[in-house]
């Protein structure tokens, strides 16, 4: 019997204390049939990457409302690379000024979702990212 589920990490790196958005996304992904590992607030980059590794997630979702993405995201990506997880797509949500979106993508973020992004869009993006990886890996 085959039981393939998409596993997504929803993490709140940094000192950002608002988690309602992240929880809405987490529940939405669950309702879409995914297994969501929610880390809680105030995660260091090391904690995020450790969780991603132990939980062997398909996608890492970062929720950052504090503006600290320019510091946190590259650090997380660097650690993912160190742990040989550079192929795991990283999605960034929260408050990311348009000016920073390109920088984030250049740093290695697969997609940036601003406030107001629909749940459907995010679910679709996660599914496509996972399917994309499986195609690359040969299924």
């Amino acid at each position: 019997m085959e039981d393939r589920k998409i596993r997504v990490l929803v993490a709140k790196p940094g000192l950002d204390g608002h988690d309602r958005g992240a929880k809405v996304i987490a529940r939405g992904l669950r309702d879409a049939g995914m297994e969501v590992i929610y880390t809680g607030l105030r995660q260091t980059p090391e904690m995020v990457v450790e969780a991603a590794l132990q939980e062997d997630v398909d996608v890492v979702g970062l929720s950052i409302l504090s503006g600290a993405h320019t510091a946190l995201v590259p650090r997380i990506i660097e650690l993912m690379r160190e742990r040989e997880m550079e192929e795991v797509p990283i999605f960034l949500g929260g408050i990311v000024p348009t000016a920073d979106v390109e920088t984030m993508q250049a740093a290695g973020v697969s997609a940036v979702f601003g406030p107001g992004t629909s749940l459907e869009e995010i679910v679709k993006a996660v599914r496509e990212a996972v399917a994309g990886r499986e195609d690359k890996a040969g299924g």
Partner: protein, 334 residues
Amino acid sequence: MDELLARVRQGSRRAVARAITQVERSDGQAREAVKYLYPHTGQAHVIGVTGPPGSGKSTLVNELAKSFRRRDCQLGIIAVDPSSPFSGGALLGDRVRMRDLSGDPGIFIRSMASRGSLGGLARATAAVVKILDAANFDVILVETVGAGQAEVDIANMAHTTLVIEAPGMGDDIQSIKAGILEIADLLIVNKADRPGAENTVKALRMMLHMGQSTRVRHHGREVQAAATGDAAEDPQWAVEVYKTVATSGEGVEEVVGAIESHKAYLKESGEWSARERDRSRQEIEQLLQAQLLAQLRAEVPQAERERLIEAVAAREVDPYTAAGRLLAWIKLET
């Protein structure tokens, strides 16, 4: 897969994580992994932690883990949470309570969704325990979905089962489920600083005392409950009630001490081997059931199954006869 499993034996965390994903994903992968790793399992002390939502299981597991680490144990933690029966998805939030443990290379935490299994564990949990065992973890804590019912699965799988209660959750004697006495090696009243804690402790102690003069089914086997004064000849394990305040760590050291005493008792009394035999029996039966059903599905044409279902629904055939006809399809290999 063999290469991955070889790295599991070396303790590679990445390999452990990937292997766990593989066994969750398919029975075939689980079979391969267990075949390879099984000879290298049997050393780890498996501890089950169960109790109703809100009893503070994860917070307590967090504290237990810190205590085990002070004793220099490599620790694996499996946290099981329920999958939604509607969407099949799950929100796995136990890591939130275990932030103290992050950054410690001696601890590995994995969240598992029940994926439809009842009884507190996921179908793949047994295989995951074996992976952690083969990866040289000394202690494996399995935190289950606890509805306060007798979580039989965990009692069968664990060497030592902890049942957590919290005060004010319907703690008078009628509402504490009798089943927990059958599975608990240690009873813990967490949030012991709350009002009503003493009542909960008293109620539990009374239930234990009432069970003491009879033969009790413990972990599915009949044992003479430890009667006072008889202990010398036949050392039994006396289930006791502990008080903890997980948020402050109060009472946790005593619990860990009791867990270690339980392990010593199991080894000295021969119960460790007896439970291994029980566990093996249960596991073979469970796998047998799953494999027979899978074989049935493979060998009986869908149309035939549907035809029988229609016939039963229309009262043309009774369910027992229908099941018998399906069984006749299975060609047993000799």
